[in-house]
């Protein structure tokens, strides 16, 4: 299935990146409260206002920027740490590998939301804690993928050849195994980012990971949930933003994963 043609990708990609233009295209201060609560979309407030009279269009842009940046940085952390942890077992030998596998199985059995909540309980409630709380539950799934891919590409002859030439484990991993993983990692990072976006907005929706009322899609959806009787439409901009992002990442993961599936 080819979901979008090239033009479609360009249009969708630029739609998704609109929040990053917030400093130039936002019309109001996202934290500026006013008397005009819950006014419907009009010329001066493009998406209307929320329960404190804040401009929803500007909040959508700034909030999107925060949400996407949190998702992106936790994805990078998860992928980086996952590569490190996942390759350690392969690097050191079969006994250590077994120990690592047992530890992975254990950590994977703790539900992700509990890990996130535990981190927020222990370390507090800021944006960096939010990033870590989002990234940590995703490290182990990445490590599984890296470990699996490495142990299958380790059996190739070029690894034996390199070892016969006297290369160290570290050299083999860095020069031969990691590059062969790149496309798998790229495809997997899309679905990791999907989970990270979902998890970070779940956490901010629950009221953690920032001051109350900070511009963030999760927080905006929580505020819209409170106002579902008077102004259900306030939930549309952040909800639609999340939906588009997640769907797009999903398609990307499928699209990038297809050559890998074909190889197997």
């Amino acid at each position: 299935m080819k979901p979008f043609n090239r033009l479609g990708w360009v249009v969708l990609g630029s739609l998704l990146l609109i929040p990053f233009l917030a400093p130039w295209i936002a019309t109001h201060d996202p934290y500026l409260t006013s008397e005009q609560q819950f006014i419907l979309p009009n010329v001066s407030h493009w998406f209307g206002t929320d329960y404190l009279g804040r401009d929803l269009y500007s909040r959508f842009l700034w909030g999107g920027q925060r949400t996407i940046l949190v998702g992106l940085s936790s994805t990078l952390i998860a992928i980086g740490m996952g590569c490190l942890v996942g390759s350690l077992g392969t690097l050191t030998g079969p006994t250590v590998d077994l120990v690592f596998l047992a530890v992975f199985d254990t950590l994977a059995s703790i539900p992700g939301i509990l890990v996130s909540l535990l981190i927020l309980t222990l370390f507090g409630n800021g944006i960096s804690e939010l990033v870590w709380a989002t990234a940590l539950p995703q490290i182990i799934p990445v490590a599984y993928v890296v470990r699996g891919a490495m142990s299958s590409s380790k059996r190739h002859e070029y690894v034996d050849a390199s070892r016969a030439l006297g290369a160290s484990n570290l050299h083999i991993m860095w020069q031969h195994l990691l590059p062969s993983l790149l496309n798998i990692l790229l495809a997997y990072s899309m679905s990791t980012m999907r989970y990270c976006l979902m998890m970070s907005t779940t956490v901010t929706f629950l009221g953690f990971g920032g001051e109350p009322g900070v511009a963030d899609w999760g927080v905006m959806l929580a505020e819209a949930r409170m106002a579902f009787r008077v102004a259900p439409w306030t939930s549309i901009p952040p909800g639609l933003g999340m939906l588009l992002w997640v769907m797009c990442l999903n398609y990307l993961a499928e699209y990038l994963g297809k050559p890998i599936a074909k190889l197997k």
């Binding site: 703790i110 539900p111 509990l114 909540l117 959806l221 949930r225 579902f228 009787r229 939906l243």
Partner: protein, 294 residues
């Protein structure tokens, strides 16, 4: 033999989680006083002098006796606190699980069948996969509470207050079940019995639901059991969304009050639950598929 190994595996993993929790608290600076409260609230000065290994042993033997410590905020036993609120959560999880599986299997069959209907259901599945549960809840609340007035907006206890949360949670479970069913069905496509059924001239509908689906179920059932564990995240959210009483609310309050023993108790019990579900899933495959038994 299989069961013994599985149960030993559960014990090992839960032990590892408990150990991890304990040493994480030992290493973290500034948390030692809380750690003493965690290990049962005994004589603090005496326990501070004890060697970490001794305290670890105490903590571990307490957990083996089913004692997860006392809450920091009101001194209630963690196990009592969790047991008191477990029933609404279990009701919610089970009902949404059953709903999600039924809808998911039907949807998986329809999307695997393809055609006009299948294409549209595939689109619907993609939308459901992307829609955050807190947005779909707001939409459902608006439709069923404000526009139609069928259900109350929140609270717990009555059946009518259970339906809307379960539906929300089932909708978030649906796409992953449907995806699993579809892929399991695709895996069956090159089997010989399919050709036999086609050769007999059976209708596509009958082949799909009577011949392919039962075989696909063997791979789907363990997945479905693991989803029960993933529903935990959904229940935390859904209880907040519909202001229902339950474990999610207990956990969230504990996080807000920095009530470590309750959160840690939740982590340990959550890990135990996931491991037990994994064993049940393995056991079901073993029972259902004679090929695995040999």
């Amino acid at each position: 033999m299989f069961l013994v190994r599985a149960i030993l595996g559960v014990f090992f993993r839960v032990w590892l989680v408990v150990t991890l929790m304990f040493w994480a608290f030992e290493i973290l600076p500034g948390n030692t006083s809380d750690e003493n409260l965690l290990s049962g609230g005994g004589d603090v000065s005496q326990e501070q002098e004890a060697h970490p290994m001794v305290r670890y042993w105490q903590y571990f033997s307490q957990i083996l006796q089913g004692d997860l410590g006392q809450s920091l905020s009101d001194g209630q036993w963690v196990t009592e606190k969790i047991a008191a609120q477990a029933i609404p959560t279990i009701q919610l999880a089970l009902l949404s699980w059953v709903l999600g599986i039924i809808l998911g299997v039907v949807m998986g069959g329809i999307t695997a069948n393809g055609g006009y209907l299948g294409q549209h259901f595939l689109m619907l599945e993609n939308i459901l996969l992307g829609i955050p549960v807190y947005w779909s809840a707001t939409i459902l609340l608006y439709i069923f509470v404000v526009l139609l007035g069928w259900f109350p907006a929140g609270g717990g206890g009555r059946m009518s207050q259970l339906i809307l949360p379960s539906l929300t949670l089932a909708l978030s479970l649906l796409p992953s079940v449907s995806l699993g069913v579809r892929h399991a069905l695709y895996d069956q496509l090159n089997q010989n019995y399919l050709m036999t059924a086609k050769g007999k001239g059976l209708h596509n509908f009958r082949i799909l639901w009577k011949h392919l689906m039962p075989n696909a179920m063997i791979t789907v059932i363990p997945l479905i059991f693991l989803e029960l564990g993933f529903l935990l995240r959904g229940t935390v959210l859904t209880e907040r969304l519909f202001s229902r009483p339950g474990l999610g609310q207990v956990l969230l309050r504990a996080v807000l009050q920095q009530d470590y023993p309750v959160v840690i108790g939740g982590v340990i019990l959550g890990a135990l639950l996931m491991n037990v579900l994994q064993v049940i899933a393995d056991l079901l495959v073993w029972l259902l598929d004679p090929r695995v038994r040999e």
